[in-house]
């Protein structure tokens, strides 16, 4: 059950996307997200969708695996779609059931919002599917390196992020174990009122927190014993160097962005 959380995980495969420089992928994700929010016309959506499908096809990550990631946002997705559907009052009323009135504009907004969210999650999760936490940290560190000049601790932040990503599966596994152990001790999640149910989470949450702290402690110790001392003066075993394919990817991305901006602001079909 909990094994199914795939969002934020790395998927091992050998594809063009896996081999790209992480900075290109970061840039690509950023551009993709921005253009997704520029959208005004169906043409843009179709273009974004084609882009997304192409990239997924190149990535060699199984589609079912990517779709699983949507489960994590299912609640937010349904909630925001419903809110838009029910509370937008402009436009023509299409469905009228007593106190619920759904307008055509509400439906349209809800539809676009839904697709936008789904495409956002699918697109961005590709970044972590195809990039190891280490690469991601390196990429972030290098592309945000300029922030060091205004005293932003880029290395530290990148390290925190990559450790957090790395620990999602570890902690879900831990959670799974703890839940089983407490179930074996007869914990009852189902019956009782809200307060009792919240209380029944205590035997799960407390050990999980303790486990997290223990893991953090162990990791800190392991890092220190391997002489980790932060970013200063650290050299890389494999420094990031752009290759031909990275430059080509940049070119594709820039053309895509310009095309999307053109479509949103100047095209005849917007």
């Amino acid at each position: 059950m909990l094994r199914d959380i795939t969002i934020g995980q790395y998927y091992r495969a050998d594809s063009l996307l896996h081999r790209l420089d992480p900075r290109v992928k970061l840039f690509g994700t950023l551009v993709y997200v921005i253009t997704l929010f520029l959208h005004k016309s169906p043409v843009n959506y179709v273009m974004s969708l084609i882009f997304l499908i192409t990239v997924i096809a190149i990535s060699k990550v199984p589609v079912s695996y990517i779709i699983k990631g949507l489960r994590a946002i299912a609640v937010i997705l349904i909630f925001s779609v419903l809110i838009n559907m029910l509370f937008i009052e402009e436009g023509k009323v299409v469905i009228d059931i007593g106190w619920i009135q759904i307008t055509d504009e509400g439906l349209e907004t809800a539809f676009y919002l839904g697709t936008r969210l789904i495409m956002l999650v699918l697109g961005t999760s590709l970044l972590t599917f195809t990039t190891t936490p280490n690469q991601l940290t390196d990429g972030l560190e290098k592309s945000l390196g300029f922030l060091n000049k205004i005293k932003v601790p880029v290395h530290v932040m990148a390290m925190i992020m990559s450790i957090a990503l790395r620990f999602i599966p570890v902690l879900t596994e831990e959670l799974d174990k703890i839940m089983k152990a407490q179930t074996a001790r007869g914990i009852d999640f189902e019956s009782g009122g809200l307060l009792k149910r919240v209380r029944s989470m205590v035997p799960i949450v407390v050990p999980l927190f303790i486990a997290a702290v223990r893991r953090a402690n162990d990791l800190a110790m392991a890092m220190e014993s391997r002489c980790y001392h932060g970013g200063e003066g650290r050299t890389k075993l494999r420094p990031l160097v752009y290759g031909k394919r990275d430059l080509a990817a940049y070119a594709v991305l820039i053309i895509f962005t310009i095309w999307m901006i053109y479509l949103s602001f100047y095209s005849p079909w917007r």
């Binding site: 174990k177 089983k180 074996a184 001790r185 007869g186 050990p207």
Partner: protein, 287 residues
Amino acid sequence: MSIRLENVSYKYDENTKEKSYALKNIKLEIKKGEFVGIVGHTGSGKSTLIQHLNGLLKPSGGKVFYNERDIFETGFPLRELRGKVGVCFQYPEYQLFEVTVLDDVCFGPMNFGKTRQEAEEISRRALLDVGIEESIFHKSPFELSGGQRRRAAIAGILAMEPEYFVLDEPTAGLDPAGRDQILNLLKELHEKKGIAIILVSHSMEDVAACADRVVVMSHGKILYDGDKREVFSHEKELKEVGLSVPFYRSLAGDLRERGFMIREDVLTLEETKDAIMDILRKKRNNA
């Protein structure tokens, strides 16, 4: 009165086909009052197997019976079963969460409908049984040493007063003294209270010292199931699947190879010592 697995199979992922079987066609019956050791190398399916005994995992194929009743038929009180079949997972000390040791041990019995007072009484006894002194009862579990925490967690299951007590590697990571303490506790629970013990372990020595019956697992299947002396006589086959026989048994083998004809089926230090002394005595008498 028994737990019976009938052709139980378990797949990790329902969608994938052949390879992901964790258990294949397991047939196993554990009767009340038995002491069964389950051995197998890492990934052989031991831990998956024991989660079927109290219905934490639902088999992908086959059935689990408790006292001849299918535990997954509708209306079967699964939660009650978990009180009867107490499962203590690996590193149980990480599931402690209460403010005091005693409160934590009370958690189990109170979940199974005991009042606070009854639960406390049972818990005190359970804690004393595992060798934790009164003075520690009201300490936080996190102040205890590793071995004490392990024993407190075991007391947490014991206080549920199970008929079957399943333990997954209860001695992993303990020092020899801690290990002996836990193994002795299990023997005592088995002999004095008649609780059936199912001990999952890597250690052939632990199993040989305590269990009567040994189940050997390999790649999700049961390889051997029977009396421990019979099972450990398959030395060659066990080595082929990456397992060993108890140290004293292979020691006896080595001695025989060198012409010291000690009996072959010794399993513990005590037995080996007696066997050696016997032969020496005979030799002296003959001389």
